[in-house]
């Protein structure tokens, strides 16, 4: 996300519009007022898009490996489970595996970073120092396996302020009073940070039985038992996302993070667990000055 942008890539119509004189902004009126108070002048509403073909099965898919634990990915999280029953039948799930779907993570990163970089190109072309109030999304455009990545925000200039290092605008999900409070706390915005992690659960017999509440003909399951493979998948997908985003931080910190995890059941214990972690990468520019203990108040309405 820190690649030097090429302003020449900004669409001609957008460049003409930005040169038009009147600024555009996605800020609410209170956020707009707060930005002016901070000495931030809005210069343009900037956007970046990237539309990706989106399929679940990419390189490294376990399909076609004929019952052998997946060996395609040499990096990333992988954990296997072995059936305790010995050979039962060809249909019996004699092994299970959780593995990181790096091809999905890479594709998501490609879509997100492309959209982000295109937004930065627009911001750079209007001489912005930063982009505030960033909103990003990734939505399916249709049922045809197409995913649209969108990143947008309001490009701003710091009145009488120097340009950012390398001329690359800083970005933040914050705007208005939230941004003012962050600055007041000594945390300067560096960039938004976002990542996705994806773990595929390829269930072995025990996971399959437990998620269906049965013992699969191996006696009667009478008590609650942990579905260890699924628990591990849910822990791993969050840890991977956290680790990936920490790597992006390069010593800075992530504040106001949002972690959203979804599970897609694929049947018979199989599932895909995905986690999106995003937040504001910030850098401390002054020592923290402790606040006085807050004074409790009661509002009379």
């Amino acid at each position: 996300m820190t690649t030097a942008p090429e302003p020449d890539d900004v669409p001609e119509a957008a460049a003409r519009r930005f040169a038009g004189g009147a600024f555009t902004s996605g800020l609410t009126v209170p956020d707009f007022a707060a930005c002016l108070q901070m000495g931030l002048e809005p210069v343009g509403f900037v956007q970046g898009f990237c539309v990706m073909q989106w399929q679940w099965y990419g390189m490294g898919s376990p399909y076609g490996t004929f019952g052998v634990p997946f060996q395609g990915s040499t990096s990333g999280y992988s954990q296997t489970w072995q059936c305790p029953h010995g050979f039962v039948s060809a249909e019996h799930r004699s092994w299970g595996q959780n593995y990181e779907q790096s091809w999905i993570e890479d594709a998501w990163r490609q879509g997100f970073v492309s959209a982000y970089d295109r937004m930065i190109e627009e911001a750079t072309s209007v001489g912005a120092h930063g982009v505030v109030g960033v909103v990003d999304s990734s939505d399916r455009l249709s049922d045809l396996g197409v995913l649209e990545f969108r990143v947008q925000g309001t490009a701003v200039r710091v009145t009488d302020g120097p340009p950012p290092a390398g001329g690359i605008p800083w970005t933040t999900y914050l705007a208005g009073q939230r941004l003012a409070k962050s600055i007041e706390a000594g945390l300067a915005p560096v960039s938004i940070a976002a990542t996705v992690s994806s773990v595929r659960v390829w269930a072995y017999c025990i996971t399959e039985y437990l998620t269906e509440g049965s013992a699969g003909g191996w006696g009667y399951q009478s008590a609650a038992a942990e579905i260890e493979q699924m628990s591990e998948a849910h822990m791993a997908v969050r840890r991977i996302a956290r680790q990936q985003v920490r790597t992006q931080l390069e010593g800075d910190s992530l504040r106001g993070a949002s972690m959203i995890t979804t599970e897609r059941e694929l049947g018979h214990g199989d599932a895909e667990v995905q986690c999106i972690l995003r937040g504001n990468r910030v850098r401390r520019f002054k020592a923290f000055d402790p606040l006085p203990p807050p004074q409790p108040t009661v509002r009379l309405l």
Binding site: G251, L254, A257, G279, L291, P296
Partner: protein, 290 residues
């Protein structure tokens, strides 16, 4: 801190100058331009800036985003008609909650936190499994390092609530949970016939609900006592029938166990009369596109 001991936060802030200082800092090459091997991994936190302010005001800081997850199976057939409590489902809930909480404790300790605040607890009860995930931010007193003799706490209180509790002389200890799933017994044929076409109380459901409630609340209270707690605050209660088992009722409860550290400090809130228009400014989530 300023001379009056109130700290710089009490002084008027020149936010424009602060922004210029931040811009000046960002215009210089970052220290992170150091070789990758010399870079340290950054901290993460899902606390809002307001929560972080509140934490700092009482001398605490965020350390790392931490999580715990546990899924337990519910044996097949337990939701069919029966009598009394569906113990295997109640047990699955209790063990999944405890498992997720234990993993959160472990992550917090590994990251050097003394406790977790703002924990988001998600519980899903399915026909064949109970899923519990807890995500929160590990926190510690500013500048503290290494292990502490005090046990790690987990709390779903916000940073603001944690600061308020702290000011009042209380401390959170952990999350306590209780759940009970109970069959609503069949009515006899005679009773069913008698109640047909009448709007009357279905005592079998009412009694089942009371039974589930008593068991769940008692379990939560027992968990609180086991932590040597004085009480439980911010209890989240969910009750009612389940989509996949309409003849059974569930009652689940969890909250943060608290204990008085020394003596209670009375907070005397100042009454304020806002003079601004009561119009909502904007939706907080709009900034995230959520």
């Amino acid at each position: 801190m300023s001379a009056d001991g109130l700290g710089a936060g009490a002084d008027p802030v020149d936010i424009r100058q602060e922004m210029l200082d931040a811009a000046g800092y960002l215009s210089r090459p970052a220290a992170s331009d150091a070789p990758p091997a010399q870079r340290r991994a950054g901290r993460t936190s899902d606390l809002s800036i307001d929560e972080e302010f509140a934490l700092h005001a009482i001398g605490w800081e965020p350390v790392q985003l931490v999580c715990g997850a546990s899924l337990y199976s519910v044996p097949m057939g337990v939701w069919n008609w029966g009598q009394g409590e569906i113990t295997s489902a109640s047990e699955a809930y209790a063990r999944a909650f405890a498992g997720a909480s234990d993993r959160l404790h472990q992550e917090c300790t590994t990251m050097g936190g003394r406790g977790v605040v703002g924990a988001h607890v998600e519980v899903e009860v399915h026909r064949h499994h109970v899923d519990v995930t807890i995500v929160g931010t590990a926190v510690r007193p500013v500048g503290s390092r290494g292990l502490s003799a005090d046990p790690v706490f987990v709390s779903d209180l916000s940073g603001r609530d944690f600061a308020l509790l702290h000011q009042a002389g209380w401390t959170p200890l952990g999350l306590a949970a209780g759940a009970s799933f109970v069959y609503a017994p069949r009515r006899s044929a005679g009773v069913a016939m008698k109640q047909k076409n009448q709007n009357v109380e279905l005592t079998n459901f009412t009694e089942a609900m009371y039974s589930a409630r008593e068991s769940a609340m008692e379990r939560m209270q027992s968990a609180a006592l086991a932590m040597d707690g004085t009480g439980v605050v911010q209890v989240h209660v969910e009750e009612g029938p389940m989509a996949f088992a309409s003849h059974a009722v569930s009652f689940t409860a969890f909250g943060t166990v608290v204990r008085l550290v020394d003596r209670h400090t009375r907070l005397t809130p100042r009454m304020i009369l806002p003079l601004d228009d009561p119009t909502p400014a904007f939706d907080a989530t709009s900034l995230r596109g959520g």
